[in-house]
Symmetry: C2
Subunit: 321 residues, 2 copies
């Protein structure tokens, strides 16, 4: 195989279509990195996307996201559905990579060719989920997986972005968390399509379910009431009910036409995010882009020019260069 460019991408796409896991893995790497081969591969495969059910799994740290994800993957396998798991791990600036990696994760799923696991590093300061995440999901979709479970380890910002990337978002809650977490939960309540109450054998589960119901009742205009599904993921309890709730949500999206509307909205945000990055890159790498920026930053650090005026001046110069 040649190692870059369109030829390499075309070969990987052929391999992927033949069911070659190594070709799939390589294409995912190229897609995640946003390399020319990755872009070309996506271009070639894009017509094959749009068939998988993409499911975001999110929740506070310690809620048991990995365990619930594993449990769900097994439940889908029991229905003979093929599964991909995309685990977005926080990257460590020390190690420059995903520190959890594929680790202990999914040990009891390994060896099953119907499950494909991919860990991605989240890109912190570069914007939570990297652009690459959506591209990775697209490649997995094109590879013919029935279900793609997208799991974040982080909390907060990532959760909102993951919801934007998936058709169905499962928010995992656990009893006995603090006030901050309750607040955070309220903030992301709107993005939750299914509420999983994990560790349902812990004290405080009834109070939590009551709180969730109260939060949901605020949203009277919704045509979808997120079901609340108790689970004990470590023991596999509640797996089928959770899977059913997720499937019911997709059926709701299909029957109401919201699946297509949400997809268009997702593409709109993705195209605009790419465009924004490309426009900035074009200006930075354009005529004297970096030099002009350095001069303008001299004025800013000297307090002669505020950042908004600086940005406007930099753009204006660039457009007339």
């Amino acid at each position: 195989m040649s190692d870059s460019g369109p030829q390499y991408a075309a070969e990987l796409v052929v391999g992927l279509r033949a069911g070659n896991r190594r070709a799939l893995a390589r294409l995912l790497t190229e897609a995640e990195n946003g390399s020319p081969a990755g872009r070309e591969g996506l271009r070639l495969l894009f017509a094959d996307t749009g068939r998988a059910h993409t499911v975001g799994i999110t929740g506070s740290p310690g809620a048991g996201k990995s365990t619930v994800t594993n449990m769900l993957a097994k439940a889908y396998r029991a229905q003979d559905k093929t599964v991909a798991i995309v685990a977005v791990d926080p990257s460590s600036p020390f190690t420059q990579g995903a520190i959890l990696g594929d680790r202990v994760r999914m040990q009891d799923l390994s060896g099953d060719p119907g499950v494909f696991v991919r860990s991605l590093a989240s890109r912190g300061a570069l914007g939570g989920l990297s652009h690459g995440t959506l591209d990775v999901v697209a490649v997995l979709d094109a590879s013919g997986r029935d279900v793609i479970l997208i799991e974040t380890v982080g909390a907060g910002q990532d959760e909102v972005e993951i919801a934007g990337a998936a058709q169905t978002t499962v928010l995992i809650n656990t009893p006995g968390m603090g006030d901050d977490i309750q607040a955070m939960k309220a903030g992301i309540m709107e993005i939750a399509d299914v509420l999983c109450v994990n560790k349902a054998d812990h004290p405080g589960v009834d109070a939590l379910i009551g709180q969730l119901r109260a939060l949901l009742s605020l949203n009277v205009h919704a045509d979808w009431q997120p079901p609340i599904v108790p689970t004990i993921a470590t023991q596999g309890e509640g797996a089928d009910a959770l899977l059913e709730a997720i499937t019911a949500h997709r059926e709701h999206l299909v029957s109401t036409g919201k699946l297509a509307l949400r997809e268009r909205d997702r593409f709109r945000r993705q195209v605009l995010a790419i465009a924004r990055a490309e426009l900035l890159a074009g200006m930075l790498h354009g005529p004297r882009g970096e030099q002009r920026l350095a001069q303008i930053l001299d004025d800013v650090t000297a307090r002669h020019l505020d950042p908004h005026s600086a940005a406007a001046a930099w753009i204006d110069q660039g457009l007339h260069a």
Copy 2:
């Protein structure tokens, strides 16, 4: 007062310089909203910025960020320093605002004119900390506050951004958290300048300090070793030691010249973030920007065009329109 435009901004700036808290509050609202008056106010005040010590307070949900922030504010007041607190709260899509608001927060600080508290809603999907946060900090800086404490309620992405906004970042840890949190902590370790171990009367504090030391030891090349400061913020214990560690970090930044380097880097990121948003807005609101986008999205949803090719086509059309 006229209610918009340069005249209004100029009047608010005069009020702010005279120490009028109401003018300050109004200017902060304009700055947070990115209104024309806010931009103009910032332009007029920008020469007065750069004097405050900006301190980010971050950590996992439940770590006691608000309590530590209050404790620090009181310690600064005991040194006769004026303090502003910027509390970035998660916004609720239901209420369209900060759900914690100023709540119970800072009750024992109210009535002290040396403390000014401002809650900001974080902007979730729009990019964690809003652009407005840096503008709000700049206005408070120009108002002559000695110290600006910037506290997030969220975790993850926000933490990295807050670190980018502050000169000194305090990461709060507490004993007895789960593995996910330890992992997250590793991911944001590099951004922490001071490590506060709060709830130091809880079990597991020695183990936590040992873990933090081990993580720090990975970073052998650093010329600043983040001190580990135990606190029991609910009882005010450790306040002076924490304040000293924060002050020592600023002295380190000044003596090594890193204060200016970090500031320039911060301005660079801010100017580029503004430019990116402005470039995209220019294209969207330019000739048939939205119409062209809608047509291109038709091709994407029909799987005739992948998102990267779509963004490139949209930009290309826009530049030649």
